[in-house]
């Protein structure tokens, strides 16, 4: 058997370089401010984790926002009760979301297909409604869970005198706002990429893909599939919890809207837009959606008039009126159109577009026409 040199270190190094230099190469796109960069990293983690479940096993969860929200609440409680250090907050976020995923997954995975989706959606909406009603002592209802001056923060009090204002989240003294916050999220993203890549290339990943391809056959092949799907569900829930706790790290408050079904739907869009079952597709999808959200929603009529100022006055007014439908509050319309275009013309998402381009430019399709896309092609 021929010995193949492991490509892992190269893939990892390339990925790390791309992520850590994001502030540089995103400058021309006007997206190099820390707030947005943090979101890029965090939602990339969320989508990557979601893809471990949806992309590998084919189980479409419509309730992943619940784990995002649980991660956020757990992290903020860790800030309130123990310390402003971010590591315990992340650990709490992941532990609690993992626990939730275990419970919800245990029940939901008894069904597959649309019934599974509906069950997860029901659980997530239940969490959302509970956060607003019964659980207000824990979630602080509509106001959202925030830091206050009266928080005990027992571990911090042992080491430092509390300052006059609200403390900042930190990693052993380094403030986690602005660029340091981004770099922290970026490092976590790189670790998550490593873990995801390993799962994709492991026997476990192969088992999950087998479940997606023909779950019945898995039974006659000697696999009891439930433990595997449950493991994928919990791992993916913990990724979501990690993303949620990172949201709290960069901005220490948690609101119930994070649990709402729209947030669950968003991660589905990200994954499909980027390419279901590919390694980096979901991350690209997350970036595209977050970019549109931040850039297009910030356009208003005056910026549009400026853009169209080269037109005669009547035409300019007309162009501004039409295009203003698609920006500002209307950015969802742009996103919707983009999503429709992708699903109709590139069902495999951005990654499929990329593969087609590569094929076209590598000598008119060097590979055999049947060499259909394989999930790991995303490297």
């Amino acid at each position: 058997m021929k010995q193949i040199v492991s490509r892992e270190p190269f893939a990892l190094l390339a990925f790390a370089v791309v992520i850590l230099t994001m502030p540089l190469w995103l400058t021309p796109l006007g997206a190099n401010y820390p707030d947005l960069l943090q979101k890029f990293a965090i939602f990339a983690i969320f989508a990557m984790g979601f893809n471990i479940l949806f992309g590998l096993t084919g189980y479409l969860s419509f309730g992943h926002a619940a784990f995002l929200g649980v991660g956020s609440y757990a992290a903020v409680w860790s800030f309130k009760l123990f310390t402003m250090n971010v590591l315990p907050a992340i650990a709490f976020g992941m532990a609690f979301s993992g626990l939730f995923a275990l419970l919800i997954g245990y029940v939901s995975l008894r069904r597959s297909g649309i019934y599974f989706s509906i069950l997860t959606l029901a659980f997530a909406q239940m969490c959302y409604n509970l956060a607003y009603s019964v659980l207000t002592p824990i979630t602080n209802g509509e106001t959202g869970l925030q830091l206050t001056l009266q928080d005990p923060r027992i571990i911090d009090r042992i080491f430092v005198e509390p300052g006059p204002g609200l403390p900042e989240t930190n990693l052993f003294g380094i403030d986690m706002s602005g660029y340091p916050g981004f770099y922290f999220c970026a490092v976590v993203l790189i670790i998550c990429f490593f873990i995801t890549r390993r799962i994709f290339k492991s026997p476990f990943g192969l088992t999950l893909r087998g479940i997606k391809s023909n779950q019945g056959r898995m039974g006659y092949t000697g696999y009891s599939t439930r433990p595997y799907t449950l493991a994928a569900f919990v791992i993916s829930g913990m990724f979501a919890g990690l993303a949620g706790s990172l949201l709290a790290v960069t901005d220490p408050l948690a609101g119930a809207e994070r649990l709402q079904w729209t947030a669950s739907g968003e991660v589905v869009l990200m994954t499909i837009l980027g390419g279901v079952g590919t390694l980096i597709g979901p991350m690209l999808g997350a970036w595209i959606i977050k970019y549109f959200e931040n850039i297009f929603s910030s356009f208003n009529k005056s910026t549009l008039s400026e853009i169209f100022s080269f037109l005669p006055e009547n035409l300019q007014a007309f162009a501004v009126d039409i295009s203003s439908l698609f920006v500002g509050e209307g950015w969802h319309l742009t996103l919707g159109l983009l999503f429709m275009l992708v699903v109709i013309f590139l069902p495999g998402g951005v990654m499929e577009g990329w593969r087609r381009l590569v094929k076209r430019f590598s000598g008119g399709g060097g590979g055999s026409p049947e060499s259909a896309p394989v999930p790991q092609a995303a490297e």
Binding site: M1, I4, S6, R198, I199, K201, S202, P203, F204, G205, L206, T207, R209, G210, K212, S213, N214, G216, R217, M218, G219, Y220, T221, G222, Y223, S224, T225, P227, Y228, A231, I235, E370, S371, A372, V374
Partner: protein
């Protein structure tokens, strides 16, 4: 007299008003190839479905090596050493041929759940070698990186056979393993099945092609309208007037 490994006793199965199996008794001896023949709709596939846990019998039992199969789920039955080739190939269409064979190769044989999220497929050279050998055995080695959905029906059947053989089952159930194959491929499959027989694997085979049946089977049971109407060696079956009437009728 050899040990009998598979006992089917008094199995009944009906779908609504249709009596698919009634009072079926079958004994399969260790290391033999037992063919089940019969006209379409006789209940042959239903009988195999009962054996692998896809269907539960209404009445009666299937016992394999002392284990009552109808009390187990399909994955547990496979763990006991029963593998099956289906009438319509059950493969993993989205995966490559090699991956199709790797999945059964990785299925742990002690029934335990092993996650192994961090071991690398690439590094599992021993299992990969076995998988490639299994593909070579059925003549599909050249296509190992091809997606399984692109295969012809006959090739899918051979792939499924490789997926079963790599598990080295104690009992192999074959539901029309040569249907949809060319004469050449049929002969190759028959040769392959003869090789396996030399390894002492017990087989139950459903087949319409009498050439295949008579070149492989040690014993033949004839199923008609849900009942076993005859059982015996190929020569006994050939000479049985009831069988000729029910099944071979037109041929003689």
């Amino acid at each position: 007299m050899k040990n009998s490994v598979l006992h089917v006793t008094d199995v009944h199965k009906s779908f609504g008003g249709l009596q698919a199996l009634s009072d079926v008794d079958l004994n399969v001896e260790e290391g033999t190839t037992h063919a089940i023949i019969g006209p379409n709709g006789a209940g042959k596939s239903t009988l195999l479905n009962v054996c692998v846990g896809r269907l539960k019998p209404d009445h009666g039992h299937v016992v394999f090596n002392g284990e009552v199969l109808d009390e187990h789920t399909p994955d547990e039955i496979n763990q006991l050493g029963v593998s099956r080739v289906f009438q319509t190939p059950e493969i993993f269409p989205d995966l490559t041929l090699l991956e199709n064979v790797l999945i059964p190769a990785f299925a742990s044989r002690d029934g335990s759940f092993s996650l192994r999220p961090f071991s690398k497929l690439r590094k599992e050279t021993e299992i990969r070698d076995r998988a490639e050998q299994a593909l070579a055995d059925v003549g599909l080695a050249a296509l190992k990186d091809r997606e399984a959905a692109a295969l012809s029906r006959g090739d899918k059947r051979r792939l499924e056979l490789a997926m079963c053989l790599i598990q080295q089952p104690k009992l192999l159930l074959l539901d029309e393993p040569t249907a949809g194959m060319s004469r050449h491929d049929t002969n190759r499959t028959v040769d392959l099945l003869k090789t396996i027989k030399a390894r002492g694997m017990t087989k139950v085979i459903i087949e319409h092609d009498m050439h295949v049946v008579f070149s492989l089977a040690d014993k033949i049971s004839v199923l008609a309208q849900g009942k076993i109407i005859a059982s015996g060696t190929p020569d006994e079956i050939k000479g049985n007037p009831k069988v000729q009437e029910a099944y071979l009728g037109g041929a003689h």
